[in-house]
């Protein structure tokens, strides 16, 4: 296991680096070792299973999901369903995809009137940036978009969203810092209705899920929006930073309890973090992953693609 320990701290390029940079850049690190492992191994032995375990743990799958996957593979091996390392790899891939079943779905918004998207999540996850990217996404679909600066707390949060508005040539409804978040979003919805916008994207302040009062503020936002349109918000997107570890589970549970989260956005996948904790989320909570963030630019938001995601985790293991 010594070299595995080394690998875990070695530099590995981002999962989605190849989406951006193509395959040109040489890659060294764990995934290659996995390839070598699968290729080199003629038989399935404990070492190989241990390496898979290492791969999953270092990708933030967490102990419980990892154990589930390994147990299942072990059973298949014992039943002699899997004859060689390649078969094992395929079984692993199939199993991981199975965990993501029904979770990659497009974010469809096609009711009457402005469709309201509420961005929620912990501090610094990427809500404001994703709101800006989503505005771009919907504009590409020829839909009219309005932004609401619902983060009235953090320093310069309003200015940050306004910059994204300018980049997209999209109006931003905002008040001063310290204003009531719910009333900013309420006003924005009124504006979106009267000016017949297709989509309203409401940013909110970052909040850690263990802060009761802040979570109640979110409930209030939803309550207030519903006074105008009881079908709103049509989508509540929980933004999760791919570098987050097991705490993402607590985040999802808490946000789902306080507001009806409808889906996830997984940001910062252009880094070295693998975002494996979403397997625990989708399995336990059945939340779809709508998008992944792969950078800081306007078009660095991609629809979630389960196969691509799993292959990136097993990257190079062909």
């Amino acid at each position: 296991m010594d070299n595995v320990a080394d690998q875990a701290t070695q530099g590995k390029p981002g999962l989605f680096a190849r989406l951006k940079q193509g395959l040109a850049k040489t890659r060294r690190g764990f995934s290659e070792q996995v390839t070598a492992l699968f290729l080199g191994a003629k038989v399935i032995d404990q070492t190989l299973l241990d390496s898979i375990e290492t791969l999953l743990i270092t990708s933030d799958f967490g102990v419980s999901v990892t154990k589930g996957v390994i147990d299942r593979l072990t059973q298949q091996v014992e039943r002699k369903d899997l004859s060689d390392a390649m078969a094992l790899k395929n079984a692993l891939r199939a199993h991981l995809l199975g965990l993501l079943q029904n979770t990659s779905s497009e974010l469809t918004l096609d009711g009457p009137g402005p469709q309201v998207i509420l961005m929620v999540g912990v501090n610094g996850a990427g809500k404001t940036t994703t709101a800006g990217k989503l505005a771009h996404h919907f504009k590409q679909q020829n839909r009219s978009v309005l932004l609401a600066a619902g983060d009235t707390f953090r320093a310069a949060a309003v200015e940050q969203l306004k910059t994204w508005g300018e980049r997209n040539d999209v109006a931003v409804i905002a008040q001063h810092t310290g204003a009531d978040s719910a009333s900013v979003i309420f006003d924005a919805l009124a504006a979106a209705k009267s000016r017949a916008f297709d989509v309203l994207i409401a940013d909110t302040a970052g909040r850690l899920q263990n802060k009761k009062n802040l979570m109640q503020e979110l409930e209030k936002i939803v309550r207030v929006i519903r006074r105008q349109d009881e079908t709103a918000p049509h989508s509540v997107l929980l933004v999760i930073d791919a570098t987050t570890g097991q705490n993402a589970i607590a985040q999802a549970q808490a946000f789902m309890t306080d507001v009806e989260v409808t889906g996830l956005v997984l940001t910062k996948l252009d880094g070295t973090a693998k975002g494996g904790v979403v397997f625990a989320l989708t399995e336990a909570l059945g939340l779809p992953i709508h998008f992944v963030g792969i950078g800081e630019a306007l078009d660095d938001l991609k629809p979630f693609d389960a196969e691509l995601f799993v292959d990136a985790i097993l990257q190079g293991a062909d």
Partner: protein, 454 residues
Amino acid sequence: MFDNLTRRVSAALGQIGGKKTLSEDNIAETLREVRLALLDADVALAVVQDFMDRIRQRAIGAEVGASLSPAQSFLKIVNEELVAVLGGASEGLDLNSQPPAVILLAGLQGAGKTTTAAKLGVWLKQRENKQVMLVSTDVYRPAAIQQLQTLAESAGLHFFASSIDQAPEQIAKDALQAAKRQFVDVLIVDTAGRLAIDDDMMQEISKLHGHLDPVETLFVVDAMTGQDAANTAKQFGEVLPLTGVVLTKADGDARGGAALSVRQVTGRPIKFIGQGETIEALELFHPDRIASRILGMGDVMSLIEEAEQKIDKDKATKLAKKIQKGRNFDLSDFRDQIQQMNNMGGLTGMLDKLPGMGNMAETAKARVDQQNFGQLEAMINSMTPKERSFPDLISGSRKRRIARGSGTEIQDVNRLLKQHKQMQKMMKKLGKKGGMTNMMRGLGGMMNQGGRPF
């Protein structure tokens, strides 16, 4: 999931029974539990492996203490080792240099650098009376400069204005000049968030470091970070000569294994933790607090240590023997227990240290405090020895006498008797496996019975 490591380790170590030392064999299962707990707390796998080796070496051959169960002895070793690896208590910043002393902040996107820049400024201004100037070299993230400016103004700190059409290196040079001209003591330089694999951006910060020659180069890391913390810290550490770490968002409920990963991989001390969004929410790092959090054990450790020091060992042994022999736990024993708990800071003091109890509502605590130990003791003191040994004797008239003698009400006497019964039942169940942990679990149950709100 693994919150109750104490329980799991107790179960795993149950078999060692009478043996007085820990051995390779009897701790194998236990080591596994600890490993899982660490992984669950997001400690990077490589760091976990390293750490488990240390534990194995320390634990094998260790003697099981007289007043501690094998599980407690083992967990004490784990905790001590964890605290040791996490490093000593933080000594804050080392600003010994020709002023202006420069502090450079580095880290991933959204880690909390800008907020921390302002927090450090407030810290130095308020506690060390320093003249502090803040500057942002983040020309990328929308409104990043404005964010720092707003924070600087609200804290009354000097702010060196920069703009997004300038090069970060130029901003740094100009700010340093200005800091010298204005004779400020400390210049804090905020930087854009960057990925460790972004070569251009890593080169940029390396150059910034070259120009600024900071006394402190701090790696800012989010307490919620998972396995990637080790990778990232390593790569930042290769590009920058880090002097310390700031762990942010520790006011959340993440177990914070990233602290251990980053500490181990960079070899640099964790100097501060961020405890909130406001600019005052910064604290010096305390390794023991993070250790028990990573292990998910509240402050069980300090409780164990106190138990070791303060519990009257003779009485404890006598009681254990008595119970083992199947004899009754009478009211004199109850009084001894009460006195021992009193020695340990009372029930509230103990509850504070137990996992999951830390957040107990203040009102609940207040009500527990009403359960005044002194009162319980006074009531037992007002009994005859015979009554203490055979509480069933205590009839209505005796109750009245005891209440009068102790300045309490009959209901109080009733409650005491009920609690004692409760405790007695528990002690019976305990049989051979006595010990603080069990006793405390029982205490929780006892209070519940009395209609207490937890």
